[in-house]
Amino acid sequence: MRAPFNILVAGVGGQGNLVCGRVLADASAQTGLRPVVGDTFGASRRGGSVLTHLRIGKTDWAPLIPMGEVDILLGLEPLEALRAALEFAGNRTVAIISQTKIPIVDVNNEKYEYPALEKIIDSLNKLCKQVIVLDAEETLTRIGSMKMLNSYILGAMGALTQSPLPLKIIRESLQSIFGASSANIVAFDEGAKLVH
């Protein structure tokens, strides 16, 4: 594993960014590595962007990933994935992105138009080494709801060859938070199947 190994989780307040950080930090510690997790969640409760920076290594690193140094970008939302990639992605970034949009609220009649998904993915392809786009809506609606997207995307990440943490250990960490019978575990397993 490259040290530090950097995982950036991008989403919107309420999507479960912080849980992703908790799970991956716990899995890192269980693997015998030292995690540092930095959360940016200023006024996120009110629908803003949220970023979780995870640094994994043998020593403690700074709480923010330097520009261009992301190894894996987990995008819980396409526009937020792009926002994060523009600032932090680099030539070794592998991005796993959920394609389900969360609309932006038009507060001051400024008429911002949410960009087309194809354009977002085009830009991400220019910024990252590899982009994996997930269509989770059907599967997650069947299992429960889109609230489990964070578990689903963790499963997808754990199954990647680039994952610094074994799938089994991430799954155990997820279980320690949600319990073994949680629908989140089903969502995780579905996510893992997808990348295999």
Partner: protein, 617 residues
């Protein structure tokens, strides 16, 4: 989060500070919530019963510090955590307490600064209070230090009988790493009587002299302590002097640049400077680069110390422009500054066109009654020809500044009503706008009561609106004196009774859920003369959801026949509820069931009666 791995635990910076307070043997904690400091007290409150400590959310930071000082004087070890702006509120007392001294209990003040103002109305460096008050300052730079510094700070306070300031910043408080826990000691103190002379008169200047002497001693204690890390190298091209979390950014920048001959002097004991340690490090180099968050605090101290040296090194930092003098510290900032000093060429990152990136504006939650209130403000402002000034305050409702600029001013806790009392006197000079002050319930108790009394006493012409959702919503639902849900041993103080006691010219209670009534009430109130007060029963949907599972009995639909679509857009663009979105393919608005909380506010907002309520089967 406490997950054990071997003997280490993953802890956030604030959690580590709370753990440190327990390991220090703290018995008393008083605080007012404020990001990024809140979790320290939240955690201590959760553990209060288990460890038999007293923890309170005080009415404001000044009262919190006064309460903690009282406990310290009686021999009870105390801690008082707050955010940057909170220390402004407490500073009046702090700049007296420093001279009077703390008691045998000891007193640690924790201040969490917010570089970049992620969750603050300003960007301020609170370390200057340590200098203003001449009290010791400590800045932990790791999660482990965040925990371990608290017992040291308490001992220092007990030994010198001064309050000790521990400073964190957002990125330390709100990030997590592995920490080795220590033991929680057996209690050895007992509350006793207060010593004589706990005041500064008639000779405060002698008390000032005494504290200056103490600070001389503390500088030596710092030099002998294990907290500061000297560079191992004998000679250096560049010496970085770091403090706080900036230490990590500095280390990482050196690593990324693979740069040789750069060393770090990391200071945890930043005020008074550990002079001997600093001089020893300065002698190793010709170039110094400062790495710290917000203002050049350590930089200025070191620069003025260096004046006494034979060979003064070259200094780079916020004063020289090598480091931006505003905003957050990052690895990238340090990398850039080192690259310039060492003449290293950095690889250019590829830039791509980001035209398609649109902002995600912050707004009120779906179902938040603050939106209803500001909607009413906008309607009333229009009705009176735009002549309405809204002096705002601090809380979730501060988002009113972004909501069609519904809020005109927004500064400090309680400043809305204060500013309004001044504006309410200006008719004599030709001021022709109606004056409206807005505050939330927790803010009302914190700092609005003196302003309100001033308005009554001076006969100021204004309307004061209190948006009462009966909780401290912004920081995560802490109780306050007026909160609906109280701890069993606390007594509720009703806002209404306080207002009635002040006897405004007009007082009414309104329902923030009913938009048409709200518009009429607001209009008829502001057009009256004198001091008017409105108490609006408001709802925090998050607080409700936290307490009970919400059952969806109805749902809302948009009638395509009645909706005027793109010609109108009032519900989507003007009212701007996150649960209403524009559907491009269908060419009309839709209600997002996943986000809608069935408050029904939008029904009254639609001028075409196109939003319909339906029973859920």
């Amino acid at each position: 989060m406490m997950i054990d791995s071997k003997h280490e635990t993953i802890m956030g910076g604030n959690e580590a500070i709370a753990r440190g307070a327990l390991e220090a043997g703290i018995g008393f904690c008083a605080s007012y919530p404020g990001t990024p400091s809140t979790e320290i007290t939240t955690i201590l409150q959760r553990l209060a019963e288990e460890y038999d400590i007293y923890v309170e959310w005080s009415v404001n930071e000044k009262v919190a510090l006064e309460a903690a000082a009282g406990a310290s004087w009686a021999g009870v070890p105390s801690i008082c955590p707050m955010k940057s702006l909170g220390l402004n509120v407490a500073s009046d007392f702090l700049l007296n307490l420093n001279l009077s001294g703390t008691g045998t209990g000891g007193l640690v003040i924790v201040v969490c600064d917010d570089p970049r103002g992620h969750s603050s109305s300003n960007e301020q460096d609170s370390r200057f209070y340590a200098k203003a008050a001449q009290i010791p300052l400590l800045e932990p730079s790791t999660y482990q230090e965040a925990k371990d510094i608290v017992p040291f700070a308490l001992k220092l306070s007990q030994e010198y009988e001064v309050p000790v300031l521990v400073r964190s910043t957002t990125r330390l408080s709100h990030s997590r790493g592995l920490v080795t826990k220590g033991d929680i000691p057996k209690r050895e103190w007992k509350a006793g009587s207060l010593k004589d002379g706990l005041f500064n008169v008639p000779a405060p200047h002698f008390k000032h002299r005494d504290i200056l002497n103490k600070m001389e001693q503390i500088s030596k204690t710092y030099d002998e302590s294990k907290w500061n890390t000297q560079p191992v190298e004998k000679e250096l091209d560049v010496l970085i002097i770091s403090s706080g979390i900036s230490r990590r950014y500095s280390q990482e920048a050196i690593h990324l640049l693979d740069s040789k001959d750069i060393g770090i002097l990391n200071l945890v004991t930043t005020y008074p400077l550990p002079r001997r340690s600093v001089v020893a490090a300065l002698k190793k180099t010709k170039i110094v680069l400062f790495s710290e968050e917000i203002d050049p605090f350590v930089e200025d101290e070191v620069r003025s110390l260096a004046v006494e040296l034979d060979n003064i090194p070259e200094f780079h930092g916020k004063r020289s422009g090598a480091i931006p003098a505003y905003g957050e510290m990052t690895t990238d900032v340090m990398r850039g500054a080192i690259a310039i000093l060492k003449n290293i060429k950095l690889d250019k990152r590829k830039k791509i066109d980001s035209d398609i990136l649109v902002p995600r504006p912050l707004t009120f939650c779906a179902g938040c009654t603050h939106r209803n209130f500001y909607w009413a403000v906008r309607k009333v402002r229009k009705r009176i020809g735009g002549k309405l000034v809204v002096a705002g305050d601090i809380g979730c409702y501060s988002l009113g500044v972004f909501y069609d600029r519904a809020m005109t001013t927004m500064q400090a806790m309680g400043s809305g009503i204060g500013v309004a009392t001044g504006l309410g006197q200006l008719e004599r000079f030709g001021f022709d706008s109606k004056v409206l002050a807005v505050a939330g319930d927790s803010t009302f108790f914190h700092a609005c009561i003196p302003g309100l009394i001033n308005a009554k006493h001076k006969n100021s012409n204004l309307t004061f609106v209190i948006l009462d959702n009966a909780t401290t919503a912004m920081t995560g639902f802490q109780t306050h004196p007026g909160a609906l849900h109280q701890e069993s041993n606390q007594k509720r103080v009703k806002i209404e009774e306080i207002i009635k006691a002040i006897e405004p010219e007009f007082y009414a209670r309104g329902d923030a859920n009913n938009i048409p009534e709200l518009i009429d009430l607001l209009y008829s109130t502001i057009t009256k003369d004198g001091l008017k007060v409105l108490l609006l029963d408001s709802i925090c949907v998050l607080e409700e959801a936290r307490r009970e599972a919400i059952v969806k009995e109805t749902s809302f639909r948009i009638d395509k026949e009645l909706c005027k679509g793109e010609k109108c857009l009032i519900c989507v663009s003007d009212f701007a509820c996150p649960a209403i979105s524009w559907d491009k393919t269908m060419d009309h608005p839709i209600i997002l069931d996943q986000l809608c909380v069935q408050c029904g506010a939008c029904v009254a907002v639609c001028p075409h009666d196109a939003i319909k309520e339906e029973r859920v089967q």
